[in-house]
Every structure is written in C-alpha cells, then in structure tokens.
C-alpha cells in the first residue's frame, strides 16, 4: 500500500522506479509509523504502548501532510494525538499504570489478533489499491487537500454521509448521558455503597 500510494508523480507517466524526494520521505515515514504501531501492540509496558501510539498517529499525520492533505493532518493531530490519547492515558492512570512490565496485561490472543489484523489490513489495502489505481496526486502542484478543497468537497459531494455520521455521534452522546445517569440513579437504591474497585499496587 505504501509504495502504491507513494509512487505518484507526473499525471502522464507515473513510474514506480524513479521516486521523488517526497515519495521517499513518504515511504520512510510509513515504515517508521508501521514500526511504532508494531511496538504499540507488542510492548509489555502499558503506558509505553499509549506513548508509542502517539508516535504512530503522529506519523500518520505526517503522511497526510506529504499527500498535501493539510487539513486532515492537523485534525488528526488535534483529535487523535491531542484528545483520544490523552483520554486513553487518563483512563490508564485512573486504573492501573505501573512503571515497568505488566505481564497480566496480555490476553493470550496474539495469534487470533494477528490473523484479524492481517485480514483487515489485506482487505483495506486491496480496496484502496483497487479504488485509486488510476488516480494520481500531483505532489508538486497546488495542494489538493487544502481546507477549502476539503470543505467544498465534503459539503457538496458528501453531505449525506456527513449528516448521517453526525446523527450517529449525537446518538452515542445521548446514550452515554443516559447510561451515566442511570448508574447514578440506581446507586442509592442498592443501599450499599459501591464496592471499592480492586486496586493493583500502582508501583
């Protein structure tokens, strides 16, 4: 996928064998991102996994930048690096975040996980390669993923999926509120204070 997406040059005769500087950078960043992602799922230190996830998500943002999709790149940093990972770290610190290895964090599902990951990666690569086989981005020309281009494309051609997604998110939001309020209303009925969550030794 990396080479297929990265190898894009002049619109007339895009060649795989004479990569430009941007394409080489794209492949290198892609390899680094892949490496960080692999470390994320293989490291035995929980918080390190979250920190490596930052590297992987940041690497993806750089890939978007190299593909001239500047807006998407900054949104990626804003949402994933700035918020999702912070939420993840928050959750980790709130429950258990030991320094050093946490052997009990392994669910023994390595092989099934690997199979699922390879299958989904294969499907994605196949779909992307097949869909964009004849589409080439002129990396040296004007940015095709600028905010203006992205905005007009999104709100002219893809309004319906956009609105459907926002309804989905709204439903999730309402659902979260309902769930959290239900828990609070039910607690006094039990009469017994909620059992203190089992705490592992943090250090």
């Amino acid at each position: 996928m990396i080479t297929a997406l990265g190898a894009s040059g002049a619109t007339a005769a895009p060649g795989f064998l004479s990569p430009t500087g941007v394409e080489i950078a794209f492949v290198l960043v892609g390899i680094a991102t892949l490496g960080a992602a692999l470390v994320t799922v293989t490291t035995r230190q929980l918080v390190h996994a979250a920190l490596w996830l930052i590297v992987a998500l940041g690497g993806l943002a750089v890939e978007y930048l190299l593909l001239t999709a500047e807006f998407i790149a900054w949104v990626q940093v804003l949402i994933y690096v700035g918020s999702v990972v912070v939420l993840l770290l928050f959750g980790l610190m709130l429950t258990r975040a030991p320094i050093g290895r946490s052997p009990d964090a392994d669910s023994e599902n390595r092989l099934p996980a690997l199979a699922v990951a390879v299958a989904s990666a294969g499907a994605l690569v196949w779909v992307v390669v097949d869909a964009f086989r004849t589409t080439w981005i002129d990396l040296d020309g004007p940015a095709q993923g600028s905010t203006k281009a992205t905005g007009s494309f999104l709100f002219r051609n893809w309004v319906l999926p956009f609105e459907a997604l926002s309804v989905l998110l709204l439903a999730a939001l309402v659902g979260a509120i309902v769930l959290s309020r239900k828990g609070r209303a039910a607690a006094p009925v039990d009469g017994t204070p909620a059992a203190a969550p089992e705490r592992e030794d943090k250090r």
Partner: protein
C-alpha cells in the same frame, strides 16, 4: 532574497523570540506580582531593579544536579520536558506578527487547527512527567492535567471556530486580513471563552489545580530539578506568550491599530500581547484557586454553552450581513 537564507533567517528570528519573550514575561511576573503585593521583588541581580534575576535563576538551574528518581521510568522522565516545550516553539512559527507574508514564520493554510492541535500536544509532556516520576503526587497532578485538558479543549476550539466562521477562513493571516473593528464587540464572548480556556490549558492560576502546592506539592513536576524543571517553567511562560499572541490574532485584530497600519503593525501585536500577558499575571495575584469540581463545572456548564451561543450569534450576523 535567497530561499534557504530566508528560511534560516525566519527560523533564527522565531527562535530568538521564543527565547526572549517568555523570559520577559517571567521577569514581568516577578515585578508585577511583587508590586501588587506591596513589595519590591528581585532588586540585586544585574543592578537596575534586578533585571537579570531570570538569568541568575537560569545559571542556578544549570548548576543543579540532574536527578532521576530511582523508581522512575528514566526514558519517559527525561523526554517529558522536551515534549512540553517544543509544541509552543512550533506554534510560534505560525503566529503572524504584522501584515504580509514577511511577518509570519510560516504561513499555514489551516492555521487555527495547526496551533490548537500542536498546543494540545504540549499537555502530553505534563502527563508523561506525572506518570514517569513514580510518585503519587505527580500521578495525581498528571490526572488533573488530563481532566482539565479534556474539559477545556472543547470551548477553546468552539471559540476559535466562531472566528473562523466570521472571517470565512482558517488561516491566521487570512483572519487578520478580514478583520474589522466591530468584530471586537461581536466576538467578545468568544474572546473571553478562548482566553479563559487557554488559561486553564496552561494550568495558570486560578486554574492551577494540577500544580496545587498545598495539596500535591507541584503536581507532575514534583520530582524534577535543575534544567529539566527550568524547561517546564519555560514551557509555562512560552505558553503564556503563545496564548496571548493567539488571542490577539484571533480576537483583538493583531496588527490592526487605530494608527500606523503600515510598518508599525508588529508594535500593535506586541502591545496587545503584552497587555494580555499582564492580565494573566494579574489574575494569578488576584484570584484564588478553583477546586477541581468547580473547574469542571465552569468548563461544561458555563464556557461550552457560552461558546455555542457565540457560534450561533456569529452565524446569525454572518447571514444577516450577507
């Protein structure tokens, strides 16, 4: 001018600003706080009113032993100050100080998203420091930092989105080009929300719960000493400069001023930034620290509705004047 030379010159200038302005803010904080509390502040270092106090502090920090706690995660512990400081340097590159392309380090197309995204990354430094210190107080500080960021990122974004709607662009120089004086009353709610949320994101008083010294010593930075601690302090002051600069650019018209639009624009930017920095210091002296639940309540029940109201107002006026 030669391209490479141009780029090098811009980088050098941005770096110089990054090194000088936070120190100026720091020294101003020393003196302003002192005078507001009826004392003199540092008076000896450097001779005239202790102007070299921060330089002396820097020398002191550099001389201290670099200690990493025995139980700490050494790599993350050492990396954290850099993660906290560097984002502000990157943000400074995109803030325009005057009209035209010559007065900004680098024109970023999606400028608002760039600065807010990168500023959010800085908080990861505090989180990493809090976790890696192997100290309960530090961990609590890190937790509070994360909770605070999650609460205040949203109003900040919404307020910035309101300006972007008004200007019809997300590029910072573009917003300044479109600025008119009557935006000031129009966007004043958004400006207040943005500034308050920014203060909370920087963990400045009255939002300094994550470093509340009476409860958790110094939060995530408790175990730090020497140069690494100095880097965290520098990050805080750089954050003040960046926040005030951003508020100036987004809401106060940046280089626009009543007079001297050509050539003197950068003076207006610096002046407005300086006044806002003074307000930041002023708030530190005059407001007590908010409790954690008050912090969250302020964000979710006051700032976010206000920001949404501002967006609605912006939309209505925008449609009306078209």
């Amino acid at each position: 001018m030669n391209d490479a030379l141009d780029v090098a010159l811009r980088i050098v200038i941005v770096f110089a600003v990054f090194m000088v302005l936070p120190l100026v803010v720091g020294q101003t904080e020393h003196k302003v706080m002192a005078h507001m509390q009826g004392r003199l502040g540092p008076m000896y270092a450097g001779g005239f009113h202790g102007w070299a106090q921060l330089v002396a502090d820097g020398v002191k920090f550099a001389q201290k032993e670099d200690i990493v706690p025995a139980g700490a995660d050494r790599k993350v512990f050492r990396l954290a100050p850099a993660v906290a400081l560097l984002p502000y340097l990157l943000v400074l590159v995109a803030i325009p100080i005057g009209p035209g392309e010559g007065a900004v380090g680098q024109v970023v197309d999606a400028g608002i998203f760039f600065v807010l995204a990168v500023m959010g990354v800085g908080v990861l430094g505090s989180l990493m420091a809090g976790w890696a210190s192997a100290n309960k107080f530090s961990l609590l500080g890190g937790l509070r930092t994360a909770a605070q960021l999650l609460a205040y990122e949203l109003p900040m974004l919404l307020a910035a989105a309101s300006v972007a709607m008004a200007a019809g662009t997300v590029s910072l120089p573009g917003i300044l080009d479109a600025f008119e004086w009557w935006w000031l009353p129009w966007q004043i709610i958004g400006a207040l929300v943005f500034f308050v949320a920014g203060l909370a994101e920087l963990q400045r008083p009255p939002f300094d719960m994550p470093v509340a010294d009476s409860e958790i010593i110094f939060g995530a930075y408790t175990e730090y000493t020497g140069l690494r601690f100095a880097l965290f302090l520098l990050a805080e002051y750089a954050g003040i400069v960046v926040l005030c600069g951003l508020t100036t650019v987004l809401f106060l018209g940046g280089w626009h001023g009543p007079l001297g639009a050509d050539g003197l624009g950068w003076v207006w930017t610096l002046l407005k930034t300086g006044i806002l920095a003074f307000v930041v210091i002023w708030l530190r002296v005059s407001y007590p620290r908010l409790r954690e639940d008050q912090l969250q309540k302020l964000a979710w029940t006051t700032l976010i509705p206000l920001a949404l109201a501002q967006i609605a107002l912006t939309g209505i006026v925008k449609v009306a004047i078209n």
